[in-house]
Structure formats: C-alpha cells, structure tokens
C-alpha cells in the first residue's frame, strides 16, 4: 500500500497545548487540545499518545514536524522538529491559509495577545502586548474562579446580560478591584461577566490594537475566542462581524505544520518519543557577572540540546 506524507504541528502555549496532523492538502488527519498544566514535556508526551490513537500509521507517515508557542524551543528539541517558528508567524500562516481574504487577525491566548494586519494574504504589520498581560485568558480564568463558574461557561452567562456592568479596563489589577467593588454593590452575575468580557475586548483594542487600523474581515482566535461573550463584545466595539473558526484554537499548530510542509527538511517522525525520558536542568554559568542560566535538555540521560548562554563561555558548562 502507498504510504502518504503527513505533517505534524505542535503549539505549546502557557495554558494549553495543541497539535494537529495534516496531509498535503491541509486536511486535518488528527487533532488534540489539552491543558499544559505547567508541564510542557508531560503535555507533549500525553498529546502524542492521544494523536497516535487517531492516526492511521499504515496509511500515513509523518515527514515534517513544526513546533511553535512559548515552549517551542524545548518541545522542538524533544520531538526533533524540522521547523521551530514563533507563534506570531505560525498564526499568520495558519489563518491566511484557511481565510485568504482576512484583513485583521485578533489573537488572545493565555498569557499574551497579538494583532496581525494582513494585506493580500500576507502579514504587513503586527503588535503584541509588551510589559502588560492585561486582557488575556489568564485574567478571564482568575475572574471565573472568583465568580465560582467554569471559564468555559462565561460566554453563555455573558450573552444573558442586557446591561453589562461597566468595568475599568485599563489594567487587570484595577479591573479586578473594580470588579470586586461591583460584585459587592450587588450587580447580577451575568452583568458582571458580560462586563468582564467587554473589559477584555476594550483593553485589547486600546492596548494591543492601539494605532492599528482594524479592517474587516476580522478573524478572532486563540483560547479566548471560544468565549462568545468576548466575541460579542468585539463585534459591538468594532461594528463589524467577527469570524471565529471552529479550528481557531488550532491555528498556531496548523501554521507550524504548514511551515514544516513548506520547508524542504524531511525526517521520519517516531511516536516512541512519548516513552522516552526527558529531563531539563538549569545550570548557572558563573563565568562572569551575567551569570547566565543555561538550560540543558537530556534524553534518557544524554544531553541533546542547551541554550540560554550569551557567549561561548556558557557553551562549555553543559
């Protein structure tokens, strides 16, 4: 039987870990979405186990692997990625492949948020939150916990509100104290939740989207795009429809897989990685007063990769 080529894309974010396997025509053969839970190595191993079950290894072989997300470097060396790309490029590539007409990509993840402006299918400008993590998924999660609901339910609650509570959106710390104040004043829960969703959207537009021209069609993705309350808030604020792809949470992984397909590097991927033992160790170089933290990655006891050193002195430490 003819074995056909497939490509694996892994996106390890601060909160969730995503992976897809696609064929040459970008059709999804397997996909999975799990929580990172502060353990990127464990999450990737678990993810690979789950993907393996969905995947027909008789008919397909994985020849390209792309890694992205904030743990891309670590995960890239563990799975032997052929392409390691930052999440901004991966998202831009993934989204423009499935929505070639898109002009603006809004992305809100667990810890960061970004905006990508697109013209004729290529990214022409982008911005990412810098010193402030306001208006991200982590804020929504912590407020859901405060209100005693699951973060996944927030959107439905928000839609029931007809008078969203005004919540100061400039800064998460102040938003939170404002929120507590409004709770203690007796505002109904759905109004509060709708207010939180609105605060996230307006914070995003005022900070990340500052000075950027947001043109339609707008695609919204990242974990927070699953919250219909925030989607509604964006539609109200922008005055245009906001597209949320069913696979929006997978776009980074899709982008990574597509980039590995475009790259000429080929390697045969083996699922046995999930049974190997990986250890990372942080060593302080101490060669000078910079005292660089050198991260060393060991597979079954032998060093496979290290980084973090600013000069050659750090390379000797291992």
């Amino acid at each position: 039987m003819n074995v056909r080529n497939a490509f694996l894309g892994i996106d390890v974010g601060s909160i969730s870990t995503k992976a897809v396997i696609i064929d040459e025509g970008n059709a999804i053969l397997a996909q999975e979405y799990i929580w990172t839970e502060g353990n990127p190595i464990g999450a990737v191993k678990k993810l690979l186990g789950l993907l393996e079950k969905q995947f027909d290894r008789e008919a397909w072989q994985i020849v390209g692997i792309g890694a992205t997300g904030s743990a891309r470097r670590l995960v890239g060396s563990i799975v032997g990625a052929t392409v390691v790309k930052n999440e901004i490029t991966a998202h831009a590539v993934g989204t423009t492949t499935f929505h070639p007409e898109v002009r603006t990509i809004l992305e809100i993840g667990g810890q960061d948020s970004k905006i990508i402006l697109v013209e004729n299918g290529i990214a022409v400008d982008y911005a990412m939150n810098t010193l402030c993590a306001a208006g991200t998924g982590a804020f929504l999660s912590s407020q859901a916990r405060r209100l005693g609901i699951e973060v996944e339910e927030m959107g439905q609650y928000a839609l029931q509100s007809s008078h969203p509570t005004m919540i100061a959106a400039r800064c998460t710390v102040f938003a939170e104290s404002d929120l507590v104040h409004k709770i203690q004043m007796g505002h109904p829960r759905e109004d509060i939740i709708a207010g939180v969703c609105r605060a996230v959207a307006s914070n995003y537009i005022n900070n990340v989207g500052k000075g950027k021209k947001i043109s339609s069609p707008v695609v919204f993705q990242g974990g927070v795009s699953k919250n219909v309350g925030v989607v509604r808030a964006f539609e109200d604020l922008l005055g245009c429809p906001v597209i949320v792809d069913d696979n929006g949470h997978l776009m980074g992984a899709m982008g990574a897989a597509i980039l590995s397909k475009r790259s000429l590097k080929r390697t045969l991927f083996d699922f046995s990685v999930k049974n190997m033992d990986f250890v990372t160790r942080e060593r302080n170089c101490g060669g000078c007063s910079n005292n660089c933290e050198v991260i060393c990655v060991y597979r079954d006891g032998s060093l496979i990769d290290f980084w973090g050193n600013r000069c050659e002195r750090g390379a000797a430490i291992r």
């Binding site: 790309k85 982008y126 007063s289």
Partner: protein, 355 residues
Amino acid sequence: MKQERKAALPRYGEYNCALKYLVEQGFETKCILPPPLSKRTEDLGARNSPDLVCTPFKTTLGSMIEALEAGADTIIMVLGACRLNYFGELQEQILRDLGYTFDFINLSIYNTGKKRDILRALKGINPRCSMVKAGKALYEAVQMVEHLDDITSLYYQNCGFDPTGTYPKIYRQFIADMYAAQNLAEIREGYRNASRAFAEVTLQKPQDPIRIGIIGDYYTVMDPFSNLEVEQKLADMGVEVHRLMNITNDMLRNSEKNKQAKIREFSEYSMGASSTSDIWQAQNFAERGFDGLIQVKSACCMPETDIMPVLANLSRDYKIPVLYLTYDTQSSDVGLMTRLEAFYDMVEMRKKVAH
C-alpha cells in the same frame, strides 16, 4: 585639593573610550572604567532607584556604584535634554544616602547654554588643567567618537553577511584599540586598521538585502547590553541593520532646527530629547525604501512614548511596518526573540511578494 583624583563616568555603550580619553589626556586625571554592564549592575541600580524612573537611570546608577567599588572617588555625570538633566542630582543624593563618600561633578548644573559655564564645570575635574590641552583632547575625543560611530555602523550593516566570522573579531579589536589609544595617531591607526580589515572580508550579500532601521532613546538604542543586543540579533538573521542614532549624527552633525523643518509634515513642534531626531531618522529610512523600522525605548521614556503616534502615521503613509520595543530591566530575551523573529518573517514575506 587632592592630587590623585580618580574620576569615573557610568558606562554608556562603548563611548567610555572617548570619555576616558578626554578625562585622562585633557584633564590629566586618572579615569576609572566601571566594569562592563551586567545583570548585577542593573540589579544594583534597580534596587536603589525609584521604580517608575526610566531604565537608563537605573543602569547608570548601578554603574556608578560599581565605579565607586572599583576605587573611583569622583563621579562625573552628563547633561541632557529630558529628565536626564535631573539624573545627576538624584543619583548623587541616592549614592550619598547609601553611605558613599565622593566628589560629584554634575555637568547639568551648568546647563545654561553658555559655553563659559560648561568650561567652568569641566574645570572642576582638575582646576590646574590647561584649557588648551583640554581643547585639543576634546577635538581628539570627538574624532574617536566619529570613528567609533563609523565602524559600529559599518559593523552592523555588514556582519550578518560575513561568511568568515572575522567581523566580530575586527570589531572587538577596534574597540580594544580605542580604549588603549593615548594620542591621535593611535586613534587614527586603530580606525585605519579596522576599516582595512573590514574591506578585506568578502561579503555574501544579496543584491537587495532586508534593511531595517533602528531608532530609539539616547541610551537604550546605543547600548547593546540595555537593548539585549537587538542589533546583533537582527544582523544574525541576515539583516542590514542601520542606526542613525549615535553621537556623530545627533550631536555633531545635523542641526536640530534643520531636522525639525524636515519633519514638519509629521510633527510641527519638538517633543524634547530624541523625539525630533527619531522622527527625522524614521522618515529618512522610510524614504530610502527600508523594509522595517524598530523603535527601541526604555519603559517610561516620555519623548519616545510621545512620538509613537507620529511613527504610526509615518508607517501608514510610507507603508513601512514598525515594531515598538519597550525595555525595562528584564534579563530574558525570549520574548524579544519571538517579536524579532516574527518581524523578520513578516518583512521577508512582504519583500518576496513585492518582487
């Protein structure tokens, strides 16, 4: 009056070679070089500074502490066109509160615009010095600054295309030569050697390389430690990195008035400090068809924050993407790499499509 004064200036990019030259040759005063900036410098500075002050304040304060630890008994602080004018006064007070004993020569006290007052301030370094000698050393130090800026800009424009890996060695040797130079002949020789060595390297540069222009505040953009070596990182990706912001371009050539006139379309009035220069430089890069602009600024830098809307207009009119980078005392460059890589990818894809 003490005979053996040991003066020091905080670290400022590689300009300390010229400052040292001026103090030693012109004022015949021993100049202590504080250790190169490190995480420790920044920690020392940040711990003893107000939290919301701009990062160069913290870095220079840390460097002053390290200079005092290294045996300096006199600190010289420069003047500037923004809050920098108040740096010296506050830093002196902080250092005194920490219990250090030292002389402090704050040039900004004499920031009256009168040349006579500046001379009087400088005379504080060594009252018995000859002003003729100081004038000569100043001229030679200025030459050194011009050579340093020239070699530095050549380095970052080309080192990304050097297949032999000799560029960094030449550059390091040149910097060492400048620190060691004792007279004008040695300065010129170091410069000639570096220029010649650069010219001997055969570069592998594409016909139309990616060119990125860097702008930013006086300190952060010129100090590789403070900007987490943003220029080197870009060059390593294969980018021709251009930076007009240096002492030669900003203080020795190009008058503020002319720059302000040239940017009237975008900004009618000066917003202080580096603002006019930055807008002018950004416009210059955009007019020359650069592929991208990067603004490198310290957190809480007011002039740089003020020009962001102007840069947004410029970006729209010239269709040039701008990446805004804000630095505080962060030591990890992971976030910076993500943004730079993404910026590079974007610029590269744009360029491909344009052709």
